[in-house]
Symmetry: C2
Subunit: 411 residues, 2 copies
């Protein structure tokens, strides 16, 4: 049994005409002899509508009840789409998360998938040619409904593809693939034919919102090939695959950016064991994610510490820092909400030196000051003033020759 | 543990302000020491909106998928209302049909409740003071979602009250009780303090849409006292109880009417065994409900047969009759969509003769011709031309003295 998973996002299911396009994509795979598992998001705008409704009823909506509310969005999508398929005499039925079941932990609003029981689905695939599954949702072992967080339908799709041993997980969206950078910022951005899981992870964790990060982690872990492509075209999109399936030996695959950054600097704190914990543990306890961290060399037992958080969490982070300020001996606390992170990403940089040098030189040529730097094996990130973001992206894109097709052919 | 079930209809949950009134009703019972099981309908208009959406996607929406779609209406209501309760520090949680579970048969769109597992609910009531249950929905034993038909939330509430051995099932609605007849038709209509299950059944199966019929059958079977009352007032409404709890010895409790009637007459058919089956079995196979049936005395082995169906099913019924016309030897088929049924209802008429005589005399005094008559132990129904409906209701209401409080006091 050849199985393919096809996931369609909110804009792809927004109304009857759009859903007819989705139906055509499904039929194409049926004609190729596949059994198709379709994963749908809520119709565009529906989740926001439901969240607004919840906020009308409660200043701080109960997370468990919010999940009960939000899961209705996908439920509506799968029921309507299955009706459409059945009208075309396609053997199809809908499946809600709890009916499969897709078991998750109890972290309402951001649950993680623990296991997927494939027995029922495999059995249903003997009778049905298409199973239409509600994305974004699961249930805990007590049958409480849970959701997987924004973009969670991607993770639903990849997890199902892994569990069902599907040949491919197609993610249909309103863009036609993964680009070397944001085409809205850089007109020379180029669609990538292939990208490695690790590169996609770095891209996803930054501005490139094509795929939910967790879905890429899942795909990497279970080696599920993902094809990111457009609902509104027949062109191939971008394959997200294992690194060794990418033959081109490019240094850098893409430039990403993230404007949701704010910088906090603690001046002249004690430089002794336990100080970092005293700062970051209370932040973690409040679910505040710290991104970049830089500590200056110590001077007479004292040092400065700078880190970044999401801009919308800056206020909460500062409150917490204010509480631990004395404990860590900080003389002053500075902050700057007007910063952005620009990243150069590529598995190729592992084996090549000089990437950082090229990047710094390019930014310097435009007089863009680098406020912080952090590096990983396949990424170099620079924190800069927000107003230079677009300029920095375009400059780096050109400096690494991303506007040109790679000289070594893709396989 | 004192348990009370409170059911609120669509108009009672239509928006935040209305739900605050619902919350006040719940709090009142909490203050009286009850654990409260709240059963909610979809917000007014929501079910119709979803049905319209389904009809946009399919000319004949798949019943199973339609139930997947429609159950979202109640899901939204219970999530929002539970948020409201939790904001007021009330220990509450929502429950969907499948989470309880409320098991039904597989008759999508009109499922019947087979059993309710109370173990989980009783256990939850140790922790929570209020359980907010989605009305109208259940699931079959394969976890497929089902709905109980229009007004099904009443049945959900009564079934839960029976299963949980609740003291009372309060049905809150936008009218303040059960009336002797439709107040829109007869200005002298009077609110009843009590009504017997059987009378309520007859009223419900006619125009009086206060309660879903099946909920009354359920209440009668399990002897669940129902209190029909208004969400928008603190006045007591009407108690629906066992006959022997009603002390007043009135002849007639109410006058009901039903304009959803159409009459079909088969002229000069064979009068032999099997003919009725040849007519009514194909109608039943298409789920067309036949209401009144009258057969004229046979003459030379031939007879006329007249019956009524719901007006919206007339077209389908005629198609079926056309098919069996030759088989039953019908010379002609007449039909009349402009008829209505007026009924006189009262458990008291069991022990009194003369009710029919009073009714016929009253109608005759207004020159209203009776087209068909059917009687049960506690009801006399007359089919008349639709245009006389209101006149007939008012005439009968007065003839049986329903505008005056009964001379024997209610207990």
């Amino acid at each position: 049994m050849k199985i393919i998973v096809q996931k369609f996002g909110g804009t792809s299911v927004a109304g009857l005409e759009r859903m007819k396009l989705v139906k055509a994509k499904v039929e194409k795979k049926l004609n190729q002899g596949y059994k198709v598992v379709v994963v749908l998001s809520a119709m565009a705008g529906e989740t926001d509508r439901l969240i607004a409704l919840a906020n009308e009823f409660s200043k701080d909506p109960d997370p468990a009840e919010l999940d009960v509310l939000l899961t209705t969005g996908e439920q509506v999508s799968i029921a309507l789409f299955t009706m459409l398929l059945k009208d075309a005499n396609i053997k199809a039925r809908s499946l809600l998360g709890f009916q499969i079941p897709i078991h998750t932990d109890k972290a309402f609003g951001k649950a993680r998938i623990l296991d997927i029981d494939t027995e029922k689905m495999m059995d249903l695939l003997k009778t049905y040619d298409v199973l239409v599954v509600a994305g974004f949702q699961g249930c805990d072992f007590q049958k409480n409904l849970t959701t997987l967080g924004r973009g969670g339908s991607d993770t639903s799709a990849v997890a199902l593809a892994a569990a069902l041993n599907a040949e491919m997980c197609e993610i249909y969206t309103d863009v036609d693939g993964v680009y070397t950078t944001d085409p809205n910022v850089c007109s020379k951005a180029r669609k990538l034919q292939k990208i490695a899981y690790d590169e996609m992870l770095e891209m996803a964790s930054m501005g490139a919102k094509v795929l939910q990060i967790r879905s890429v982690e899942f795909a990497k872990k279970y080696n599920v090939p993902i094809h990111v492509r457009s609902t509104f075209s027949d062109e191939p999109g971008t394959l997200v695959v294992k690194e060794d399936e990418i033959m081109e030996s490019v240094l850098v695959s893409g430039i990403a950016y993230d404007k949701d950054q704010a910088r906090i600097t603690l001046v002249d704190i004690y430089d002794e064991p336990g100080i970092a914990a005293a700062i970051f543990e209370p932040l973690a306890a409040y679910d505040i994610v710290v991104d970049m961290i830089v500590q200056n060399p110590s001077h007479e037992g004292r040092t400065d510490l700078t880190f970044t958080v999401s801009r919308k969490e800056l206020k909460d982070a500062l409150k917490i820092i204010e509480r631990v300020k004395d404990e860590i001996g900080a003389k002053e606390v500075f902050y700057d909400p007007d910063v952005a992170k620009v990243s150069i990403i590529g598995v190729g940089m592992r084996n090549h030196s000089g990437v950082a040098a090229i990047a710094f030189k390019a930014l310097k040529s435009e007089n863009i000051n680098i406020l912080m730097i952090s590096t990983s094996e396949i990424k170099i990130s620079c924190l800069i003033k927000e107003k230079y973001t677009e300029l920095a992206v375009r400059t780096l894109h050109e400096a690494f020759g991303l506007d040109k097709e790679p000289t070594v052919e893709n396989n």
